[in-house]
C-alpha cells in the first residue's frame, strides 16, 4: 500500500510538470488555433540551455535566461513560419504539419548537440528525498509541483482578469471581430507563443531533474507525452491541462512502478500508457475532459 501511495504522489508531481508543458501547448492553441507540435523540442531546448548554463548562472539564473531565450524562440517561430503562411491562407491542418516539421528540425539539431551524453540539469536538490505523509518524494519533484501550481494559478488569474487575458480570449473566440474592436491579432499571437516558450523552459528544467537523469537525446520524445495530456484535458482548456497532466503522470508512474506485475504486457509500457489513457478518454469524451465541444449549427 505504501508503494502505491508513493507512486500516486510522485505521479501527481510528474503530472504537474506535464500540466505545465501542456499549458503552453493550450495557450498557443487557444490564441492562434495552431496545434504546436514543436512545443516538445522547445521543452528540450529549455532543459538543454539550463543544463549548459547552470554552472555559471546557477540553477535559478539559468532557468530565467533559458525562459527568455525560449520565449524569443517561440515568438520567432510564429513570426517567421506561422504568420506568413497564415497570411497566405494556410489552414490549421497545414500549420500543424509545419510545426511537426519544425519539431523534427529543432529536435534533430538538439539531439546532435546532446549526443550520447546525459547532461544533468544542475538542480540544487540533487537526488535528495523528503518524507511526505510517509512517502519518500524527490525534493526536485516537490519543488517542481509547487512551481507548476503557482505558475498555473498566476496564469489562471491573468486569463480571467487581465487585459491580456481578455484580449486573448476575444481573439480566440472570433479573430475577425477582435480585430474590428482594435485588438492587434499579431501581437496577441506572438505573446502567446512567447509565454508558451517560457513555460516550456521552466517545465523542461524540472522535467529532466531527479529522478530523471538529465537531458538526453530522448528528452524531446518524452516531452511529446504532453500532447496527449493537452488533448486529453481538452485542447482549449487550461484546467484540462492540469487534470490531464495529473491523470497521465499517475498512470505512467503506476505502470512503471508495477512493471513486474505487468510483465505480460511487455516492457516499457509506461511510455505507451499516456496514449492508452488518451484513447480511452476520447472514446468517452471526444473533445477531451474540459474541452468545449465543437458547436456545429444544425
Amino acid at each position: 500500500m505504501s508503494q502505491f501511495f508513493e507512486l500516486l504522489l510522485s505521479g501527481m508531481m510528474l503530472g504537474c510538470i506535464y500540466g505545465l508543458i501542456a499549458m503552453g501547448f493550450v495557450i498557443v492553441f487557444k490564441a492562434t488555433n495552431v496545434v504546436n507540435f514543436a512545443h516538445a523540442s522547445i521543452v528540450m531546448l529549455g532543459a538543454f540551455l539550463v543544463a549548459k548554463w547552470h554552472g555559471s548562472l546557477g540553477f535559478v539564473g539559468a532557468i530565467a535566461i533559458s525562459a527568455v531565450v525560449c520565449a524569443a524562440a517561440g515568438a520567432l517561430l510564429d513570426l517567421v513560419f506561422i504568420r506568413p503562411l497564415r497570411r497566405r491562407g494556410a489552414g490549421i491542418d497545414a500549420l500543424a504539419i509545419i510545426t511537426i516539421a519544425l519539431n523534427i528540425l529543432l529536435g534533430t539539431q538538439l539531439i546532435r548537440m546532446v549526443g550520447n551524453d546525459l547532461l544533468p540539469s544542475g538542480a540544487p536538490w540533487g537526488a535528495k528525498t523528503t518524507s511526505l505523509l510517509g512517502a519518500d518524494i524527490p525534493q526536485a519533484r516537490l519543488v517542481a509541483a509547487i512551481v507548476a501550481i503557482a505558475l498555473m494559478g498566476v496564469f489562471f488569474l491573468a486569463f480571467t482578469r487581465s487585459d491580456w487575458g481578455v484580449a486573448m480570449r476575444s481573439a480566440a473566440s472570433d479573430p475577425e471581430a477582435a480585430a474590428l474592436m482594435g485588438i492587434r491579432l499579431s501581437r496577441v499571437a506572438a505573446g502567446a507563443w512567447a509565454v508558451a516558450g517560457a513555460l516550456a523552459a521552466i517545465a523542461g528544467a524540472f522535467f529532466v531533474s531527479f529522478p530523471a537523469g538529465g537531458v538526453s537525446n530522448a528528452t524531446g520524445l518524452l516531452a511529446l507525452s504532453a500532447i496527449p495530456v493537452a488533448v486529453l484535458g481538452g485542447l482549449d482548456s487550461t484546467a484540462g491541462a492540469l487534470v490531464g497532466g495529473l491523470l497521465i503522470g499517475v498512470a505512467q508512474q503506476l505502470t512503471a512502478g508495477y512493471q513486474d506485475n505487468l510483465a505480460f504486457l511487455g516492457r516499457g509500457l509506461s511510455n505507451v500508457v499516456p496514449y492508452i489513457v488518451l484513447f480511452v478518454v476520447l472514446l468517452w469524451r471526444p473533445s477531451g475532459l474540459f474541452g468545449t465541444r465543437e458547436v456545429t449549427r444544425v
Binding site: 481578455v166 480570449r169 475577425e176 480585430a179 474590428l180 485588438i183 449549427r297 444544425v298
Partner: protein, 562 residues
C-alpha cells in the same frame, strides 16, 4: 421626424470638397482574387449624419464596410484604386486596429459577439481600441444607459443572451472605444419586427449623441426611416443616391427595396408551371405531431406541440426568436431527441428514428445558416444531395467502373436540371463560397430538392434577403410545390412572406402553439399580434419584452454568419 427632414433637406458637401466630409470614400475599386466587387464607389458621410447603404445580397455593401474597416485582407480582398479618408487622413493600408484607433468602428454582420466571454468582458474587449484609458468608466455608463439589459446581465456569458440582446451587446461593444463613426452591418438581421424598430431607435439615439453612422441594411424601410442620406448599391456600383426621404419616395426604391407594389394587389403568388426533371414517384404522406415536448435541462423548448400537415400542402411555422421553431425542425429530422410526444409521418414514428433513416423516408431539409461546402462547386454540392439515391458503392465509384460512370452522368444530368430550375445554371461550376448569399440560399434549397423529398423542410429560406429576392424565392417555392406535389414545412420569421405562400400557419411562442389556422385568420389573431408583433392594445412600451432564448437557439445564434 422634423429634425430628420430638416437635415436631409440641407445641401451636403460632397467628397471632392476637401475638409467637407467626415468620411469620404472616393472612386473605390475592390476585388476578390481578381473578381471585381466594387466599381468606382463614392460615398461621403458628414459629421453627425446617418448614411444608409442599401442593395441586394452581393451588391457589395459588406465589401464597402470591410474596405473602410481594414478587414478586406482577412477575406482575401484588395483595394485596387480609390481612396478612403477620415477627416482628410488616409485610411487605406491601415490594419483594422489602426482604423479603430482613428475612430471608425464596425459592428460586424451576424453580431459576432465573443460567446464564451461575459457581457462585461465583451465590453472590456471593446475598450482595447481606445487611444487612452481616460473615459473608460464613462463609456461603460453610456452603454449601460443605452442598454439597461446589459447591465443586468453583465456577469453572464454572452452566448446565453437572446438574439436581440446579442445585437445590443455587439453595438455596445463597438461604442466602448467612443468612435467618431460607427459602421453597422445588418443590425436588424434575424430580429423580430418589434426589435427592428428598437434597433432603429437606438441608432438614432447614438447618432444624436454625436456619432456619425453608416448603416448597411437589408431592411430598407427601417434604414430609410432613420437615415439622412442613402446610397443604393447594385452589382458593385452606386445605382442611386440622395436624401433618404427623396429616395424612399421614388418608385424604383419602393418596388425593389420596400416591397410596396400597390397596396390593394392581393399577395397571392402565381408561378409558371415547370417541367419535372426527375421521374421518381413522390407520394407525400400526412405528418402528425402530437403533444411533442422537448426539454433542455430545465428549459422547456417545446411544450405539448400538436399540429398536422396535410399531404401536398405548404404549412408555415412562425414565431419570435427562441420560440422553438428550429428545435421543432431538428426533432423532425432526428437531430434532437424529444422528451415526450410523437411525430408520425405516414405510419412511421420519427422520434425513434435516426437522421439517416428519416432522410430515407423522403424528408429533406435546408438550414437557416447554409450547410453547403464552400470549397466545392454548386454541382458537387447538389450531387451530395443525391447521395441517398446513388447506388454506386465506395469501390466502384472510386475505381470509376463503367456502371458508376454511367450513374454519375445520369445524376449530373438531374442535378443540372434542378440547378437550372433554381436559377443556378450559370454558376453551377462556381465554388459555393464565392457566390453571393442570396444565390447560396437558393443552392441550399436546390440541394435539399436533389434528394427527391416528399416532405421538404425549409428553415428561414428568406432570412437576410430583401423584398425583391424573397419574392423570387417565393415564386420558386410555389413552382416546386405545384410541379412535384410535395408537402412543404416552412419555418419563417418574415410574416408577409409566409402569408402569401402558406395554406396553413402555426404560430409558436415560448415553445407553445398559440394559434393555428388559415393565414387570413392567424393574421388577425390578437394573441399572435401581441406575441409576434408586440402591439396588441396599442402598447408600445412592451418593446422591452423579449422571450427568453432557448438553449439550442442561443447556440445557433452564436455564429450567424455563413
Amino acid at each position: 421626424m422634423d429634425e430628420v427632414a430638416e437635415q436631409s433637406g440641407r445641401r451636403r458637401p460632397r467628397g471632392d470638397e476637401p475638409g467637407g466630409a467626415f468620411l469620404a470614400v472616393t472612386d473605390l475599386n475592390v476585388s476578390y482574387a481578381g473578381v471585381r466587387a466594387l466599381r468606382d464607389v463614392s460615398l461621403s458621410v458628414g459629421e453627425g449624419e446617418i448614411v444608409a447603404v442599401l442593395g441586394n445580397n452581393g451588391a457589395g455593401k459588406s465589401t464597402l464596410l470591410r474596405a473602410i474597416s481594414g478587414t478586406l485582407p482577412l477575406q482575401r480582398g484588395t483595394v485596387d484604386s480609390g481612396s478612403i479618408r477620415l477627416l482628410g487622413k488616409r485610411v487605406v493600408g491601415l490594419d483594422p486596429a489602426g482604423v479603430v484607433r482613428m475612430g471608425v468602428v464596425q459592428v460586424p454582420e451576424g453580431r459576432r459577439i465573443f460567446g464564451d466571454l461575459t457581457v462585461e468582458e465583451n465590453l472590456r474587449a471593446g475598450t482595447f481600441g481606445r487611444v487612452g484609458r481616460k473615459g473608460v468608466g464613462a463609456a461603460y455608463e453610456r452603454v449601460f444607459a443605452l442598454f439597461p439589459r446589459l447591465r443586468e446581465r453583465r456577469r453572464q456569458r454572452a452566448v446565453l443572451l437572446s438574439g436581440g440582446e446579442q445585437q445590443m451587446l455587439a453595438i455596445g461593444r463597438a461604442l466602448m472605444s467612443d468612435p467618431k463613426i460607427l459602421l453597422l452591418d445588418e443590425p436588424s438581421l434575424g430580429l423580430s419586427p418589434q426589435l427592428v424598430d428598437r434597433i432603429g431607435d437606438i441608432v438614432r439615439q447614438i447618432n444624436a449623441d454625436g456619432t456619425a453612422v453608416v448603416l448597411v441594411e437589408q431592411n430598407a424601410a427601417m434604414a430609410l426611416k432613420i437615415a439622412h442620406h442613402a446610397v443604393v448599391l447594385e452589382v458593385g456600383s452606386v445605382a442611386l443616391e440622395g436624401p433618404a426621404r427623396e429616395l424612399s419616395a421614388t418608385s424604383e426604391v419602393r418596388e425593389r427595396y420596400l416591397g410596396i407594389a400597390g397596396e390593394d394587389e392581393p399577395r397571392t403568388i402565381t408561378a409558371e408551371p415547370i417541367k419535372r426533371v426527375t421521374s421518381g414517384k413522390r407520394s407525400p404522406r400526412p405528418l402528425g405531431i402530437q403533444d411533442l415536448t422537448v426539454r433542455f435541462g430545465g428549459l422547456l423548448a417545446l411544450s405539448a406541440v400538436t399540429l398536422h400537415v396535410e399531404p401536398g400542402s405548404t404549412h408555415a411555422i412562425i414565431g419570435p426568436n427562441g420560440a422553438g421553431k428550429s428545435t421543432l425542425l431538428n426533432v423532425l429530422t432526428g437531430v434532437y431527441v424529444s422528451s415526450s410526444g410523437s411525430v408520425d409521418y405516414g405510419g412511421s414514428e420519427l422520434t425513434r428514428m435516426r437522421p439517416p433513416q428519416i432522410a430515407g423516408l423522403g424528408i429533406s431539409r435546408t438550414f437557416q445558416n447554409l450547410a453547403l461546402s464552400p470549397t466545392s462547386t454548386v454541382r458537387e454540392n447538389l450531387l451530395l444531395g443525391r447521395h441517398r439515391l446513388s447506388k454506386a458503392g465506395f469501390v466502384s465509384a472510386g475505381l470509376r467502373l463503367p456502371a458508376a460512370r454511367r450513374e454519375l452522368a445520369e445524376q449530373t444530368r438531374i442535378v443540372d436540371g434542378i440547378g437550372e430550375l433554381w436559377g443556378l445554371g450559370e454558376v453551377i461550376d462556381a465554388p459555393v463560397g464565392a457566390l453571393p448569399y442570396g444565390v447560396r440560399k437558393r443552392a441550399e434549397v436546390a440541394r435539399a430538392l436533389c434528394a427527391e423529398p416528399s416532405l421538404l423542410l425549409l428553415d428561414e429560406p428568406v432570412a437576410g434577403m430583401n423584398a425583391d429576392e424573397s419574392a423570387e424565392m417565393a415564386r420558386s417555392i410555389v413552382q416546386t410545390r405545384e410541379a412535384l406535389g410535395i408537402s412543404i414545412v416552412l419555418v419563417e420569421h418574415d410574416m408577409p412572406f409566409v402569408m402569401g405562400l402558406a395554406d396553413r400557419v402555426t404560430v409558436l411562442d415560448f415553445g407553445k402553439v398559440i394559434a393555428d389556422g388559415a393565414p387570413r385568420d392567424v393574421q388577425r389573431d390578437r394573441e399572435v399580434l401581441r406575441a409576434y408583433l408586440g402591439f396588441a392594445e396599442g402598447s408600445h412600451e412592451s418593446g422591452e419584452e423579449e422571450p427568453p432564448v432557448s438553449a439550442p437557439d442561443a447556440a445557433q445564434e452564436k455564429g450567424e454568419t455563413p
